[in-house]
């Protein structure tokens, strides 16, 4: 069947089987491999992207269901070569290690800050509680989101701390 949707602001078309999962459509038909997958049971959240402006687990949506809808992925965060404050925060605060859960975490963080520009730590932890990270123990992810909240205009990379 034919599907048409807006992905990162551009209209895309695809000829897909009805059973095709949205995550596979995004990754394989559109080549946007920044969105990942990591489980069979809709738990891990590495597939999180925005569907109609909300974070959603794209492994649990059929591409057919997204026909006529709006999708936003991690590839859309950077604008004209400028990283989003969330991306900068993840860099500044070492909010990623292997990078596999990171796109999903950042999409949720971006949504959170769009709706709650100054979230406290508990709110941040609650917002990402549906997504698993095996590397960071979550601490630096929370700090990264706080950094983005405190630097909404995305301050330039600060001077590095140096130890002799």
């Amino acid at each position: 069947m034919q599907v048409t949707m807006r992905v990162n602001g551009a209209e895309v078309h695809g000829d897909v089987e009805p059973r095709l999962l949205l995550v596979h459509f995004i990754r394989e038909h559109l080549g946007l491999t920044g969105t990942h997958w990591g489980c069979d049971t809709s738990q891990c959240g590495t597939c999180v992207l925005w569907l109609d402006g909300e974070p959603v687990k794209s492994c649990t949506v059929l591409a057919a269901m997204a026909d006529g809808h709006e999708v936003r992925t991690v590839e859309d965060l950077e604008v004209d070569g400028e990283l989003d404050p969330v991306q900068k925060g993840f860099m500044e605060k070492h909010g990623l290690q292997c990078g596999f859960c990171t796109p999903g975490m950042m999409m949720t963080a971006r949504w959170l800050l769009d709706h709650n520009p100054d979230p406290d730590e508990d709110t941040i932890r609650e917002a990402i509680s549906g997504q698993i990270c095996r590397c960071t123990g979550y601490e630096n992810i929370v700090r990264a989101v706080r950094w983005a909240a405190e630097h909404p205009a995305g301050a330039p990379q600060k001077e590095q701390e140096v130890e002799a």
Partner: protein, 290 residues
């Protein structure tokens, strides 16, 4: 990641269209709303519908309103919307308490109250909420509608009173002046299904419990509620002694099954303990000390 078996897809443009598609495709077709019960089962190939009927366009089923003395919730209302709704929170904190602990944020953006109730999972939190509140469920076919009490809706694990080519459209909860409510859930980890959950509402009048409902999930409580416990507490003062006796009755009414979440004796204990806590909490809220 696992992938579904081949399936057809149809998108409903209205309730009537959905019902018509259901009639045409028969029992091999499944409605798909949030999809977070159905699609995981399809991926594991436990569910193999021949057709999915997508009802996500049915905005006419996505609402929360107060009408004719009832809180009326459209079946397509997302968990996230219920959690965020001031109207719901104002009348029935039990919904917010429960929604806060159902699944996780991205899942709540898609899952619906209708989908959750129709899935009929024996550990479904909203089943306990609906039963506790003595809600009514509105079912519709192309021939008309009927109303089934929540307490008669669930017939067994994954089995509900919904007929072929019939759809749940609305959940109705009577607005009770002076009501307070609460929900508690024990889980092994954030997002997990309940080991046990309890929810209650009550209305105090002249120092006694004038109205009460107690719902339980994941513990094999018949119809997700504890009628004998409710009957006991009705008309009594909300003393600690009475609350404990009520909770014990609730625990006795359960038939929990042992599994990785816990043995029978633990779950039964939780049924009592959580009933006690939600009753206490409801009273605290009624007294304004919440």
């Amino acid at each position: 990641m696992q992938t579904p078996a081949p399936v057809d897809y149809a998108r409903a443009t209205s309730i009537d269209h959905a019902l018509q598609l259901m009639e045409e495709r028969g029992t091999d077709a499944r409605l798909i709303a949030g999809g977070h019960s159905l699609i995981p089962m399809m991926r594991l190939r436990i569910a193999r519908p021949e057709c999915v009927i997508d009802i996500n366009d049915l905005a006419e089923l996505d609402y929360i309103r107060v009408e004719e003395g009832e809180l009326r919730i459209g079946a397509m209302t997302r968990h996230a919307a219920l959690l965020a709704s001031p109207v719901v929170g104002e009348h029935y904190a039990i919904f917010h308490d429960a929604e806060r602990r159902i699944a996780d944020p991205p899942v709540r953006n898609r899952g619906t109250i209708g989908g959750s109730l129709c899935q009929g999972d024996p550990a479904e939190d909203l089943a306990a909420v609906a039963s506790a509140l003595r809600a009514d469920l509105v079912l519709r076919t192309s021939q008309g509608t009927r109303t089934v009490p929540a307490r008669e809706f669930h017939l067994g694990p994954y089995e509900t009173a919904i007929d072929d080519a019939e759809m749940l459209t609305e959940i109705r909860v009577p607005i009770r002046p002076g009501v307070s409510s609460a929900y508690e859930k024990v889980k092994r980890r954030a997002g997990d299904w309940a080991v046990a959950s309890a929810g209650a509402y009550l209305v105090l009048r002249d120092g006694v419990v004038a109205d009460v409902g107690i719902g339980l999930t994941a513990v094999g409580a018949p119809h997700f509620c504890a009628e004998s416990a409710e009957v006991y507490l009705l008309g009594k003062a909300p003393t600690e002694e009475h609350l404990r006796a009520t909770s014990q009755l609730a625990a006795d009414a359960c038939t929990p099954r042992a599994d990785q979440r816990g043995p029978v004796e633990y779950k039964r204990h939780l049924a009592g303990e959580l009933t006690l806590r939600v009753l206490r909490r409801s009273i605290e809220r009624a007294e304004g000390s919440a």
